[in-house]
Subunit: 331 residues, 4 copies
């Protein structure tokens, strides 16, 4: 495992920072025993529950990597943040906010009952499955390939390479996702979908099945932390308003029905997936100048052992520890 | 329109009874203006909203027909009672009661949220869509044709002819029923279904699309009123226990979320469908001997203009009037 | 313990009937071990969980008593049926049905959420606590004593004596019933109550705390079975329409959220209370002439060990056995 | 109306800043017509619906005041933030977070059903009424006066004077708050309350009835923005951890069921009350140096005309405008 801190500009390593992070990863790796890998999508069960890895990339190019940093894993619900951003870029922010609300719900990610309980005019937010599928239905294009093209393009602009669809995960997901089909038909009934349900679900399952690494997530997080601008060139990758809204949603709804607790104990906009990944965006902050990453940073975490709410159990604890030590909270 | 009261045995007509029923049908036909035909299945909108007809068949063979007695219409939710009976006959009563509860819910027929709200182990009753689809999934056979064969056979034994599937209605239903697919996938997720969802739904849409007349419904009601025995021969068509449970469910859950009001104001086991049909079974009762049909009767009603709960608006009022006049309540 | 069957008119005993019932009570007494006495009102915990008793009174005066027939116990939820009847008599049926709906809910008796979940215009039925408290608020009179006076008078007309308020139970109930106060304030907020909440709740707790025996319940049941008429004199005690509606509600909502199962397996209008009492009304029926009580009967059961839904566990099983043996079902 | 920007240290005024804010207040004052004053507490209806005022106080002492700055109004739900802070200071953070969760709910502030719908072990957050009343029950002391003493003391330390209880509002609130009593009894039933309900509710209604001005709210907001430290002296008024959690809750749950939209469009931790007040805390941020208040600021708004979610309608729009102009978002 190749690790180390590199300054993108100078190439210098900062040994002390690396040492700390290595110690923390070692410590929290034991916490993976408190969780278990996702079982509702069969292929996800093949992950190694003891994996834990983190990448932190700062605006100034300083980065830290530790633990199992090279495992590829699929985006799963993290893709909800990406497709929401793409849909806002393709269709406009106000258009999208007319189609999906931005209120946290307190319900599980796969809840369907809140759609029936009150006379809602749109799904409650883009990060529960009902809202996310609605967002996916808004992507332009006929086929799932056409719809995902701008998603892949955006990812490529941020990552420097075009990530790949994990076909095995996609097929496993497609073949096991009865709840999402239930939600999909319910949305169709409510007239919330903008396109054919089958294509929408195919697109949705594919967006969930894009392979990434924690380096990738950290890069995405860095762009969001930087309000959508490329941290190196300063060029706009995501419009500032869209990047901001994405961070708001990550904070209020990003960690399933533990979002409130994550905001309270960690205080960073983040989005998790049941594959065990977490994408976090730490905006710049005015704090003790001796702290690392005061200019903002992106963080990618991978730890497939999940807690009861579906978030990486060791990943959350590791993030809480780091956020406390380095005072990363946005509040 | 040929009408009249015939005694199956003697052929005698009872003019006075006929006169009363004709008057009542004329009176309540005006009430069809207070409702409107079902719109959620497109083809049902083609029905004539002013239609109203009733057939009453007594155990002793006396029958009364009045109004629009010859219109064919599809069973729709009335089929839920039939398939529940068939499933009990094919799989056993205790088997079926383990798969679906028998509690009224207070929710709309197409509600899905009660499945999520509490940790239910089975759908709450066989007459809301979730329960009915579960029942249909329990019918033996591979194809929808095989599964419906015992349904058609039971109907044929009661009606004396084999009713036909209305293909136009079936196709309209199949193509428009997103809510039922949502419910179906939810049931699949809960592991409530015993067979392939597509076949189950195809079977379900077909059972809803069987063409009948009010004479047919009255005959079905007469058999149920007679505890499952053929009123002429005394032979068992439906086991007594099954016929009884069907009548209980018709009383407690048969008229959608107006079942309590129908029980209160009419007091007869009945099952309605959105096509405007109502199947009612009046058990024999100890009352004033001068009343007609004290030996029990079956009643079929057709009136496609529906009230807000999905029941024939004039049909319910006509039944209420007759039940009050002749004291048909089981209470 | 004095037992035996007496014919009110002739004084004859029917030994064989008595023998059967004694055997069944002995058998089902063991089932009391499957339940436990109510704990949410402290004083109810003092009941002997192994008690089981039944009284059946026929229209013709034949009666059977067996088991623990002399234990006094409080009406608890059985009083909901009585006050609903009294309110209908005092205020009129249509007035009351405008204030409280008659739909079963599928929810627990003390549920409050269904009031918030949908835009209901009235409590869903008079037998859950929300509806029952609303009914009690409709009783005329200033003080709880004035409000209960017609309740006591009606009971006295049916029982031949004026039952007493059990002050210890009333005080225990009043002091422990936080949930009912929550419901009461919610009803006040919804503007459903017709009178002062404190007086309403005092009245409600008192109506629940009236001491009766199973003989009393059997007499009440007999009057209801007889459509409100005194079985000896034929005089009207309760208007027929009111007696009928009470029986409908007992069947659809009388046994908490096990009402559907009770209707399915027993098929008799009945109302239970957490004290372990059950009041059942068996209307006359056309069945095998050799069966006892074909002219209808009232049944009182006492068995304080409750099942999970709050009904006497051995009492329900005993009633199911008897109803099956004697074919008492109204269906 | 005396207005102007004063630098607490130098006394200098910044005319241009004042001019902008005056213009914006004039503009948004017209928006008060889109809302209406709260009606559920009778005395609140006496407010002038066209009032609108704002005070902004920066860390460096610069302040801006505009509009109706001298109207006293009661804290109402804003007090939920204060008592949560006091309870954390008195009982400890982990103690309080064990008693009340920190998850947004998506439900109305006065919802009770979420307590019944799932097997919750604690109210979902301290800012809906169920959670807030639970928090109030945790305040130490026997009488409401004793319980409120640390609340008043904390307010006095931040405001420089001891605010007064508005007895008229308290009495109006106490006499009209049936829903809060329903919630209170429900909490009692769930065993969530730590002290006598009557004292708890008395305390709760009193904390809602403390009179403040927008200057007061701005000072409170400034202390929270400054992580609990006195902006002048640097001394700790509120422990940093507690101030942080308060800001998290303000962002995720502070604006009733429009909290998600406020976070999305404004992006500032804020707490509103039905009196029309809004308390906002803007942490320091790294942004364009030419923007005002980059060191953080506290904001107090008053505008009693409310939108459908219970927040000051013009106040929210004014805050959105200012936050956009000066880039105050924490994201």
């Amino acid at each position: 495992m190749v690790q180390g801190i590199v300054n993108w500009n100078t190439g210098e390593t900062q040994e002390w920072l690396q040492q700390y992070v290595d110690d923390w990863v070692s410590f929290y790796r034991k916490h993976t025993n408190d969780g278990s890998v996702a079982s509702y999508i069969p292929i996800l069960q093949e992950a190694d529950p003891n994996d834990l890895g983190i990448t932190i990339i700062g605006k100034n190019g300083v980065s830290v990597r530790s633990g199992d940093t090279h495992r590829p894993f699929t985006l799963q619900s993290i893709s909800k943040a990406i497709t929401f951003i793409v849909a806002c870029m393709e269709r406009g922010v106000s258009y999208m906010l007319n189609r999906v609300d931005v209120e946290p719900t307190g319900e599980a990610f796969n809840s369907i009952m809140h759609l029936e309980m009150k006379p809602v005019k749109k799904p409650l937010n883009p990060f529960n499955n009902a809202g996310a599928i609605t967002v996916t239905s808004s992507l332009p294009g006929e086929t799932s390939a056409e719809r995902l093209e701008p998603v892949f393009q955006l990812l490529e602009r941020m990552l420097g390479y075009r990530p790949r669809l994990n076909v095995d995960v996609y097929e496993s997901e497609r073949d096991s996702s009865t709840r999402n089909r239930a939600i999909g038909y319910y949305l169709l009934e409510m007239d919330f979908l903008e396109s054919d349900l089958d294509v929408t679900l195919e697109t949705y399952f594919k967006q969930c099945s894009i392979d990434v690494t924690i380096d990738d997530l950290a890069r995405l997080g860095m762009v969001l932390a930087n309000d959508g601008m490329d941290p190196k060139t300063g060029g706009e990758i995501i419009p500032r308003q869209v990047a901001r809204i994405a961070k708001v949603l990550m904070l209020t709804c990003g960690m399933y029905d533990a979002s409130g607790k994550f905001a309270t104990y960690v205080g960073i906009p983040a989005k998790s997936g049941v594959s065990g990944g977490i994408l976090a965006a730490v905006p710049p902050r005015v704090r003790d100048e001796t702290m690392p990453f005061t200019d903002g940073c992106g963080i990618g975490v991978y730890g497939p052992a999940l807690g009861e709410k579906g978030n990486s159990i060791a990943g959350i604890r590791l993030l809480r520890h780091i956020a406390t030590q380095w005072d990363l909270s946005i509040f």
